[in-house]
Symmetry: C2
Subunit: 317 residues, 2 copies
Amino acid sequence: MSKLAIGIDVGGTNSKFGFTTEDGTLVAQSRIKTRDFPDFKAYILELKKQIEALHPLDDVVGIGVGAPNGNFYNGKVEYPPNLPWKGVLDFTKDIECAFGKKTIVTNDGNAAALGEMAYGKAKNMRDFVVLTVGTGLGSGIVVNGELVYGKDGFAGELGHTLVNANGRNCDCGKKGCLETYVSATGIKRTVYKLLADYTEPSVLRSISFDQLSTRTITAAAAEGDKIAIEAFAYTGRILGMKLSDFVVHTGPEAIFLLGGLSKAGDHLFKPAQDNMEKYLMPRFKLRKIELQPSGLKDDDAQILGASSLVWKYIDGK
Amino acid sequence: MSKLAIGIDVGGTNSKFGFTTEDGTLVAQSRIKTRDFPDFKAYILELKKQIEALHPLDDVVGIGVGAPNGNFYNGKVEYPPNLPWKGVLDFTKDIECAFGKKTIVTNDGNAAALGEMAYGKAKNMRDFVVLTVGTGLGSGIVVNGELVYGKDGFAGELGHTLVNANGRNCDCGKKGCLETYVSATGIKRTVYKLLADYTEPSVLRSISFDQLSTRTITAAAAEGDKIAIEAFAYTGRILGMKLSDFVVHTGPEAIFLLGGLSKAGDHLFKPAQDNMEKYLMPRFKLRKIELQPSGLKDDDAQILGASSLVWKYIDGK
C-alpha cells in the first residue's frame, strides 16, 4: 500500500483529522469537538481512539499537527488563546508517545500555507500569504519559497497586528487586534455592534450571540439583510486596509483566504480588495495582487496542510 | 592589490560613494549633492568623474547601488518619490556603460540590511529588520538569512505602511504613511505641528522649515528644549506602535535603526521600545526584541551595504 500521513488540525471549536496520501488524496477523515475535552490528556486519548478507529496505522510515516500558537522549533503549543488548555502543551511528545509515530507541529496558519503550496493555488508561487479565518485569525507567510518562522518559531501572527489601539479587547491580552474584527468571532461582534447602533430590521435580531455563526450571517447577507451585508463590508474594509500593510512587507504574489468568512463571496472580497488597493503604495499596483479564496476545500485544507508537514519534513526530503 | 568594490548610496539629499575591500574597509569615500543634478545623464557623468578622481578602478570587481525604489530583479529605479528624476531609471545599464563594470542595484533599505549582515551587528542573525531613516524611511527585511524581495522585487517598504488613513500627505501619493511621521522630513513636520499647537518657547521657533534639520532638532532636545523632546517622543510612539506589527510579521531577532534620527538616543529609542512592547502580542515578549542603533557608522553603512551587493552577487559566490 502507498504511504500515508496523518494530519490533525486543532481548532478552537473542532479538531479535524484525516489520513492523506502524498498526492493530496484524503483517504479518511473525521473530527471531535475540542471543547469537549478540558483535560489535555483526555483529549489526546480521544484523538488516538478516534484516529485508530478511522483507518489502520500500518502505512503511516508520520503525523503533522496544525494548532494556534504551535511552535515549529520546539513542537509545543504555547499559551493558545482559543483552546481549552492553558500554558505550554507538549503536543509533539504526547502525540508521539500515544501513536509511536514521528510528529511535527506548526501553527494552523503555517499548516494552511504549506497545504496551499503543496495542493492548492500556490503550487508555483514563491511568495504568498494565507489567512485562516476561523474562531481566530491565523496566517502563514511564504517568502522565497519557504515558510517564515522567525527567530522564535512563531512569526506570521497577522491576526495580532493593530487595527485600533483603543479598539476591541482581544483574547491575546491586547486591544484592537485584527482578529477582533476579522474572524468568526469578530464578525459576530460587528453584527452586534450594528444591531446596537442602527434600528434597521434584521433576521439577526432573533439570534443570541452564542447561537450566531458566520454561516447564519452569510445566509442573511445572501438574502439581502442590510445588517449582515454591512457587517461583511465593515469586516472587508478593515481587512483590506491591513492587507495593504502586509503587501509592502513581503510583496506576495497573491493572498489566500480560508475558513467560514471566505464563503461570503463578494460581500467580503470586494470591499477587502478595493480597500487593499486604496491604501496600497502606488508602485505595488503595477500588478494586481489578488485576494482569493483558497484553492482547497475548507475541511480538507487544514488536514492536508497539517499532513503536508509530514511529506516536507519527515518523509526523506 | 586586493579586490575592491564600489558602493553607491543614492539618497534624496546626498549620493555617497566609496571603494571597499571584502573585509569591510572603506578605502576612500566622497559624495555629491543629488539635487544638483536634475538631469539624470549629467548625474551619472558627475558620478563617473568623481569616482575616477577618488581612486583607480583597476581592481574593482563590480559596483553596488542602493537607491530608493531600486528593483533588484530588473536593476532599475522605479518612480522614486524622493529623487529629482521621474519615471523609470535604468541605473544598472547607465552605470555599466559609464564604468564598464558589472553593476547590481537594490533599494537603499535592502543595501543597509546586507551591510548590517556582512559587517554590522547582524553578522550571526538569520531574521532581522533594518530601517534607514533619511529623507524618507527605507527598510530591509531578512528572513531565513535571505533578503525579502517579494514577487516583484520591491518588498520591504515599511515606510509606506499605514499609520492613519486620514493622516499626512505622503510623496508616494497616499495619506498617513509611516514615513510621513518617522523620517527626517516627518520629524520636521511634527516639530512644526507642535510649534503651531503649543505656545511653549523653543529655539526651533527661529528656524524656517527649509533650514530645520534632524541635527538641529537632536541638538535642541539634548539642551532640554521641550518641543524637540516631544517631537522625538511623538515620533518614537508612532514608530513603536508600527514595530509591534513588524515583529508579528517576520519574528525578527532585532530591529536596527540607521540614519540621522537614530542619533537622538533615548529621546527616540525609549518611547519606540516602550510602545513596541506595549502593542506587541504578549507571547512575543518572552524574549526581548530590541530596537538598536545600527552597528555601522551612518555614512559608512550605506556605502558598505551597497558594496556588499558586489561580494554577495558578483564576486563568485
